[in-house]
C-alpha cells in the first residue's frame, strides 16, 4: 500500500487530481450562478485557455499516441482527422457523421497500411 504503487496511485489521482479540481468549479458555479455573466472578459480568456489545452490533448493523442495506435502511420491518423472534419462540415454539421467518416478512414487505413 505504497504511494508508488501505480495502481493505487491511479485511484488517488482520480480523486485528488480529478474529482476535487473539477467539482470545485461546479460547486463554485452554483454558489455564484446568480452573479455570473457568461460573456464576461475573464471567462472568455479562461475558456480560450481551456479550449487550447483540450486541443493539445487531442493533438497529442493523434501525433504522439502511446499504445497500439502508434503502429498506424502518421499520415493515416492525420487523414482520418481531416476526413472526419470534412465529413462533419459536409454532412449537416453532424458530429456523429464526422466520427463515422473518420472511423472508416482510420480502420480502413489500419487494415491496409500498418
Amino acid at each position: 500500500m505504497s504511494f508508488s504503487d501505480p495502481m493505487l496511485y491511479a485511484y488517488l489521482l482520480v480523486i485528488l487530481a480529478g474529482f476535487l479540481p473539477t467539482d470545485v468549479f461546479r460547486f463554485a458555479a452554483v454558489l455564484f450562478s446568480r452573479r455570473i455573466d457568461e460573456d464576461s472578459e475573464v471567462l472568455i480568456l479562461v475558456r480560450a485557455v481551456a479550449t487550447a489545452l483540450l486541443a493539445g490533448v487531442i493533438a497529442r493523442i493523434v501525433l504522439f499516441p502511446t499504445g497500439d495506435l502508434a503502429g498506424v502511420p502518421l499520415w493515416i491518423r492525420l487523414s482520418s482527422i481531416a476526413a472526419g472534419v470534412a465529413g462533419y462540415f459536409l454532412i449537416k454539421r453532424s458530429v456523429l457523421a464526422g466520427v463515422i467518416v473518420a472511423e472508416i478512414v482510420i480502420i480502413g487505413g489500419a487494415v491496409y497500411f500498418r
Binding site: V24, V30, A50, T51, A52, I58
Partner: protein
C-alpha cells in the same frame, strides 16, 4: 397550444418520479448520447491501451464526469506527469464548467434547495448541458430539476457501462478496430470543440492549441499541456479581441 397558461386550465402536477423518467427517455432518444457513449467506448479502449486500471477509470467517470479531465488524468498518468501538474491541468480544463453550470442552474433549479443544486451540478457536463438547454425551456419549472437529473443520470451511468464495454472490446477486437476505438476520443472531441466554437477567440484557441502541440511536445517537458493552454489560449484571446476591436 404552446401557451397553455392562457387557457386558464392548470395542467395536473405530476410527481418528480414521472419527470425523472421522462428525462431518462429523452436521453435514450438523444443522438448526443450516442456520441457521448462512443467517446466513452473510446476512453475504455484508451485506458486499456495505456494500462490505467479499469476501477480507477470507472471511478473517474462517476466522480469526475468530464471526459477532457479524464483524458488529462490518464494521459498524465501515462506520461508520468507529477500529480500537482495533472491537478492543475484538470482544474484549468474544468474551469469551463463554471459558465456551463452557472448558465444552466438558473434554468433548472426551480424551488430546489442549495444541497440539491450542488448535487445536481455534479451531473452537469457538456452533453447534458447541450440537451438540457434545448429541451428544458418547454417544461414547467417544477419539472425541470427531476427531468435534468433523469437525463444526466442516464448519460452518466450509460457512460460507466460503455467505459466497461470499450475496455472489454479493446482486448478482443481485431487490431484495426481497436485502433478505431482509441481514435473515437480525439475525433469526437475535436468535432465537439468545432461545434462549440462560436466566436473568433474559440476558433483561434482551437487552432493554436493544435498547432502548438508538436512544438511544445519537443521541449515543453511535463508542463507542455499547460504551456499550450496558457500561450495558445492567451494568444487566441488577445488576437481575437484585437481583430474584433478593429472590425
Amino acid at each position: 397550444m404552446s401557451e397553455p397558461a392562457n387557457t386558464g386550465a392548470t395542467p395536473p402536477i405530476e410527481p418528480p418520479r414521472v419527470w425523472f423518467w421522462r428525462g431518462v427517455r429523452a436521453g435514450v432518444m438523444s443522438v448526443q448520447g450516442l456520441v457521448l457513449f462512443a467517446g466513452f467506448i473510446g476512453f475504455g479502449g484508451l485506458i486499456r491501451d495505456i494500462g490505467f486500471p479499469l476501477g480507477a477509470a470507472l471511478l473517474s467517470t462517476i466522480f469526475v464526469w468530464a471526459l477532457p479531465a479524464q483524458l488529462l488524468i490518464v494521459g498524465g498518468f501515462a506520461a508520468g506527469s507529477p500529480a500537482p501538474v495533472i491537478a492543475l491541468a484538470v482544474g484549468l480544463s474544468s474551469v469551463r464548467f463554471f459558465p456551463i453550470v452557472a448558465s444552466i442552474m438558473p434554468m433548472i433549479r426551480g424551488k430546489s434547495g442549495l444541497g440539491t443544486q450542488l448535487f445536481a451540478s455534479h451531473f452537469v457536463a457538456v452533453s447534458a448541458w447541450v440537451e438540457s438547454i434545448r429541451l428544458v425551456p418547454a417544461l414547467p419549472v417544477y419539472a425541470r430539476m427531476p427531468f435534468f437529473l433523469g437525463l444526466s443520470n442516464y448519460f452518466l451511468w450509460g457512460s460507466v457501462v460503455t467505459t466497461v464495454i470499450g475496455y472489454l472490446l479493446a482486448g478482443t477486437l481485431p487490431q484495426a478496430l481497436a485502433n478505431g476505438l482509441v481514435f473515437l476520443t480525439p475525433i469526437s472531441f475535436l468535432l465537439q470543440l468545432i461545434r462549440n466554437s462560436r466566436d473568433l477567440v474559440d476558433w483561434l484557441a482551437l487552432v493554436l492549441g493544435l498547432a502548438l502541440t508538436p512544438v511544445f511536445a519537443q521541449f515543453g517537458g511535463s508542463f507542455d499541456l499547460l504551456w499550450i493552454g496558457a500561450i495558445g489560449g492567451g494568444a487566441a484571446y488577445v488576437i481575437g479581441r484585437r481583430l474584433r476591436a478593429r472590425a
